[in-house]
Structure formats: structure tokens, C-alpha cells
Symmetry: none
Subunit: 404 residues, 2 copies
């Protein structure tokens, strides 16, 4: 698939001295939480509302109508890359999440510790959701005893709970390797080197490692096996700097989002997690960069926890912090999310995401408040997330005319 | 062409116990009928308006901006299939319309009775729009005298007025057969086996049959020839059940719509035509199915007749019947049309179709009334008809997250 739209925008991009801030409040969008209203509707946020009164508003569809995105596709789209074209394997995402720097010689996979019954069938695909500590201690045992194939390095890293990362590093490895997770209980794990993967030497290596793990963990009561999914190389994509002629930086406290930024070659300026620090660090980073991706995690975390009051509070925290960012006077300031995370659903959702863009050449301000309803009537309309960076570039005078 | 969006949604679909109703009021959308207002605006419909007050509203573009769809593409899109990819030949649609069960060995064509002048040129492409009875009696004469090619069965069925169905059944038939309708008067019919169709044995068979018909009907004053269009095999498409992981059923009284449902392997639960029966049969069918396609014909029929008062009355009938359907408490209820049929145009039109979706995780209700204007401001926005089933699946919790 070719990214016709992205290629067009890239061909029109030019450098100037205007500065753009993309403030991502993770999981910002909401539904009405069974009549209580959306978190944006409930929150007292005088700064965002004052900004909305003189900004453009709209809604973003991150992937496609009805589709709930993971954090990866949500951010990839926000960076202006088509999330159906720029897909990253689960293994590579796991590596990003623990900040494991994948090289071009690496194959990464997501591991789940699981529990096998005496017949060798999967009894629990998540091994009873162990603590991170249990995970670490069992993984240490595996690391100590496992024998790497000749000429190959093997890395094993704890993610969280039952999840871990496997990386094979060597020459001429490939990712034609089967998932071993059968996605159900009561059946045996699958083989990584079953057809059509039996032609891959790397698949046979992977299966050999998994067989070793099974022996090493045979005496464990719960975490007695691993399931592997999403064997993948790190993608090599056009960098954000090259694609949009920008000098970008990330201000992101959580590994996953630093990792996604890294996928596009975006350097890290700071890693704050609190709203006040994010705003002040963003203001600081604007001195040396013309595009800042700033990431705030807690609006998503509270949504996932079903904590509407918490989500409201986090929005209010960001609102209170905002003046420090505004003081740096970015030419274009965007506030939005990577997806919606309604507390009533306790998960990501498919609902379009409210977006606010403060910029110099608008069709007037769309009016307060900044929420899901007013954004529906805003001048941006309902667009795809991948169209947001192009729109910001246009507002910053960073796109040439198309055709004479 | 690949249906990237449909394939994506299909890959994310999962089963659960939530139930979806798609109530299609055929030809529902309208224009303002020369200032009189749309049928939805004029109709007294307290139940639909009350539902709108707590539902999501929007507009559907069935095929593309400006494109007026036939009933086939209109429904194909409503079922979540891209109508530009999933195209059904006119012959196969004719077969659906008379509930002729096409087999994989069949080639179907739409026939028009026409009138040839003495020079053998087409004088009237519709033979003066004969009655169904005239059609039947002339077709009986043809059936009696026509000789089928060796190893091939020939079926001829009356549709209505000047229209009939031709089906050839045999081994190794193909549909590389030319339309014989010249689409104008004063010229001779075309040959079915003219280049580039002259390589096809089936095309030569078809032309031989047409030549026979000409001789058989030589003495008829009006219906003295046939024109054939849209030679086609029955399409073999992924079933609705497989594509969306649903257990669907159709509640549809008219053959054409039962036929379209059948194209996607949707079984028939009942075939009522009156609004009250459609609602009660839909409620009943919900016990055993998690998706009901319910079809109401009369809003289209009155539109085609230019009968605005009649269209209003039919909407009021459906409104009065609605409580019986609501009592069955579907988790997601959609009310919409397959296209617009404005009485002032007496035909299908390209105007986007109002849609109402009652579902549990909305951004509040969009407000009454349910009509073409309020739908423009609803939270669904203006989307393509093919995005409706995906959105319903999302609201019913039947789609997994995309990406990690």
C-alpha cells in the first residue's frame, strides 16, 4: 500500500521558523458515561475553554470508523503516518515499551508466561497474572540456564505481570516465525516452526529456545511455560524529521510513548509525567526544536481504571499547567488524544477524539467549551488523525502550494 | 480492488451476546419536495422523535457523493460491503428479484421485451410497457417453442411489465456475452457474440436463443423481440455471518430484498410487508439471532409514485408499530434507508440518508426530531453506508482493538 496522501504532503513540506506543539492527552475522548457526561464536559478547565473560544475545533478518527486503536496506531496516525500502512509488530512494540533498542539484526517477540497442565495443554494463558517480581525472578532463572544458538545473542526482558520480551540478535535472521499462543486453553502450544514457517532457520531456533524454557521451568507451579506472539523486526520508516522537514523532539515520561517517538527518529527532550512538568519542559524544548510531541498519560490511565472523577481531575491538572506552555508562544498549538478511553468502558474506544488547534489564520474561534459536543461543530470537522500534522504544517506556513 | 476497510473490520470482529437491529425504511431520505418539506419532517412520529432524543444521528452516503444507488448497491453497502467492489450483474439481480435460485452453473441476463420496426430496428425499447399478464402470455409462447442447446437448460421468467429473466444452466458456461440492447431506438439490436465476445461458446448460444425468439415472436404486434443485458454469474461473496461473526436473519416481505439477503447467506426469518408485522416479527427473530435486517418497502414505493402524503403515512405507520420492536430491547437499534426516494423526483436519488442509532455508549442523545436536518448535526456525522455495520459492531462491543 502506498501512502499517497502522506507522500503528497511530504513533497510540499518546507522549513521555516514557526513552532508547533502537539500535546497528546492520552485517551482524552469520552462517551457520556451513562448520562454523567464526558470528562471534558465535567472538568473545570478555564484555560482550555478560553483557548477553545479563539481556536479551531474538530474531531479525529484515529484509524477508521468503528475501529478502536491501540496506543501504537493511535500515535502513528497522530504523527501523520497512515496507521494501516505503518503497522508495527507486537514484538517490536514490546521492545519499545521497555526501551529495548532494537537493531536491524534483531527479531523481537512478545512472550506471555502461561501455565501448562500435566497433559501439556494450556491451562492459563496468563499464568494467573503473576506480579512483576515473580516474572523477574522466573525470567532470571531462564536467563541463567538457556543456551543461545551459535552466533546468536538472546535477550529476555520483563515487561509487566505475565508479559516479557524475547529478542534474537544475529546475522540473516528472519521473522517468518509462527505465534505459539493457541489463543485458547485446553490445547497444546503451537510450534513456532510449523508449516509454512518450517523453511525458516530462525523459526527452528525460536522453537529450540522455547523447548529449553519448558524444561527449565518444568518444576514451576504456575509460570511453567511461555507463549510467543508477534515475532517482528523493528520497522525502518521514514523519519519524522525527513518526512515533514521538522526538527522534532519528544517530551514523554512513559517508555511506550518514548518508544513510538523513537520509531520515527524523534529525540527525547525530557521525560516528565506530571502535567506541570510536561508544560514547562515543552516550553523549554521549544527553544531548540520546531515541533514538540508532548505526552500526558494519566487521562488514559484513569479512563482504563473506570475512574471518571480521576480523569476529570487529570484534565483539570493539565488545564492549570497550560499557562506555562502558552507563555512559550508556539505558533500552532494542538491539544488532542491518541484515542478515546471512556471510564464507563474501562478501555480504549472507537469514539472520535476532540481536537483543539490554536493557530494564526483561522475562520474565527469556534467557541467554548472544549468538549466532544462543541468539537463536532468546529471548523476542522471530523478528519482522520493522520491529517492533523499536515493541517498543522499548513497553519504554520510549512507547506508549499500544489500545482501552479 | 481489495476491501481494505471491510477486511480490517472483519479481522477484528468477535462474537458476544449483544443484539443489533437494522431497520431499513426503503427510500427513507428525501429532499424538500418543492418547499413542502421532507416526508420525515411532515410525519407525526412521536416514537422515532423520542428515540432520536436519546440516540446518535447522522447521514449516510450509500455509494459516493452525487451517486444515486439502485436497491442492490444500497443494501450491499448497508450490509458493510463496499458497493464499488461487491457489484452484482443486472442478470443476477433480476434472478434475486424473482427469487430464482441461481446455481454456480448458471448465467443470468435481464431481458426487455421490445418492439422492432419493419426494417428490424428498435422502435420501442420497452415494447410500450406491457402489463405483467401480456408479458407472461408472450413468454409462455417462447417457452413452448424455444429449443435449448445440447446439454444446457434454458429458463425464462416474467419479472414485471417489459422485464424478464433469462437463465442458461450448464457446464462450463461463461459470462463473456455482449449486451444486445443498443440503448437507443432506430438502430438494430446488437449481437451477443460480436467481438470481443466471439470467442465465447456461451455467447454464441445466447445469440442463437435470441434469434429463435425473434422468429417465434415475428407475428406479435408489440412484443416482437427481446433485448438482453447484464449476462452474469451469481456472485460468491463472503457470507454476512462469516464476515462479521454474527448470526443474522432477514425480515423482508419483498423478493428483491430477500434476494439481496440471500446473496450474503442471510436466512429469512419472516416475510411481512406491513409495518406492524415487520416490528413484531423482528422482535420474535431477535430471540434466535444477534442481527436482524428488517425491510419496509412502502416508503420507497410511495416516493417512486410521487405520493408525498402516502410516504408520510407510511412513516407514521412504522412509527406506530415501533414500540413492539423496542419492547424486544435490542442493544443497538438502527433506523435508516438504503437510499433517498424524494416524491418530487419520483425516483431514487443521491441525497444522503438520515440514520438513527440507539446504543449504550453514546455522547448523549442528539435530540429530536428525526429528520434530514437534525441528522446533519448528529454525532455520527456524514459517513458511508458501508461504515454503518462496523459502527454498530463497535457499539455492541463486537470489535477487538487494532494494534497494541
Amino acid at each position: 500500500m502506498q501512502d499517497t496522501y502522506g507522500d503528497l504532503i511530504s513533497s510540499l513540506a518546507i522549513k521555516n521558523d514557526k513552532k508547533i506543539v502537539l500535546l497528546v492527552m492520552d485517551g482524552l475522548g469520552d462517551c457520556d458515561n451513562a448520562g454523567k457526561g464526558t470528562a471534558l464536559q465535567i472538568a473545570k478547565k478555564p484555560n482550555m475553554d478560553a483557548l477553545a473560544a479563539k481556536s479551531a475545533l474538530g474531531l479525529l478518527v484515529p484509524v477508521a470508523q468503528g475501529v478502536t486503536p491501540g496506543s501504537g496506531p493511535g500515535h502513528i496516525a497522530l504523527f501523520g503516518y497512515d496507521p494501516l500502512i505503518y503497522q508495527v509488530g507486537r514484538g517490536a512494540l514490546s521492545a519499545l515499551g521497555v526501551e529495548f533498542g532494537l537493531t536491524p539484526r534483531d527479531i523481537a517477540a512478545r512472550l506471555n508466561f502461561c501455565t501448562l497442565d500435566k497433559a501439556g495443554n494450556v491451562a492459563d494463558r496468563r499464568a494467573g497474572r503473576p506480579s512483576d517480581d515473580e516474572n523477574r525472578s522466573v525470567l532470571a532463572k531462564v536467563r541463567q540456564k538457556i543456551k543461545a544458538p551459535a552466533g546468536v545473542e538472546v535477550f529476555l526482558e520483563t515487561e509487566a505481570e505475565h508479559r516479557a520480551l524475547l529478542v534474537l540478535r544475529g546475522d540473516k535472521l528472519d521473522d517468518n516465525i509462527g505465534d505459539t499462543d493457541p489463543q485458547q486453553t485446553g490445547v497444546a502450544p503451537l510450534s513456532a516452526d510449523r508449516p509454512p514457517h518450517d523453511k525458516s532457520k530462525t523459526a527452528r531456533m525460536a522453537q529450540n529456545l522455547i523447548d529449553q524454557v519448558r524444561k527449565i521451568l518444568a518444576d514451576e507451579p504456575k509460570l511453567n511455560m511461555i507463549l510467543a506472539r508477534g515475532f517482528a523486526k523493528a520497522p525502518h520508516w521514514p523519519s519524522f524529521a525527513d518526512r515533514w522537514k521538522l526538527n522534532p523532539a519528544a517530551v514523554a515520561g512513559y517508555p511506550m510513548y518514548r518508544g513510538v517517538a523513537k520509531l520515527f527518529g524523534m529525540p527525547l527532550a525530557a521525560k516528565p509525567t506530571a502535567a506541570a512538568d510536561i508544560c514547562s519542559e515543552t516550553a523549554k524544548a521549544l527553544r531548540d526544536h520546531d515541533f514538540i510531541f508532548a505526552h500526558f498519560k494519566y487521562t488514559d490511565k484513569t479512563g482504563e481504571d473506570g475512574d471518571l472523577a480521576g480523569k476529570v481531575k487529570r484534565i483539570e491538572e493539565m488545564d492549570a499547567a497550560l499557562p506555562a506552555l502558552l507563555a512559550a508562544k508556539p505558533d500552532v498549538l494542538i491539544i488532542t488524544g491518541d484515542h478515546s478511553t471512556p471510564p464507563s468502558l474501562k478501555s480504549h474506544s472507537w469514539h472520535p477524539i476532540p481536537v483543539l488547534m490554536a493557530a494564526p489564520s483561522l475562520r474565527g474561534g469556534d467557541g467554548k467549551p472544549f468538549d466532544e459536543v462543541s468539537c463536532r461543530f468546529g471548523q476542522i470537522g471530523t478528519i482522520c488523525s493522520k491529517e492533523l500534522v499536515p493541517l498543522a504544517l499548513a497553519h504554520a506556513g510549512k507547506l508549499e502550494k500544489f500545482g501552479a
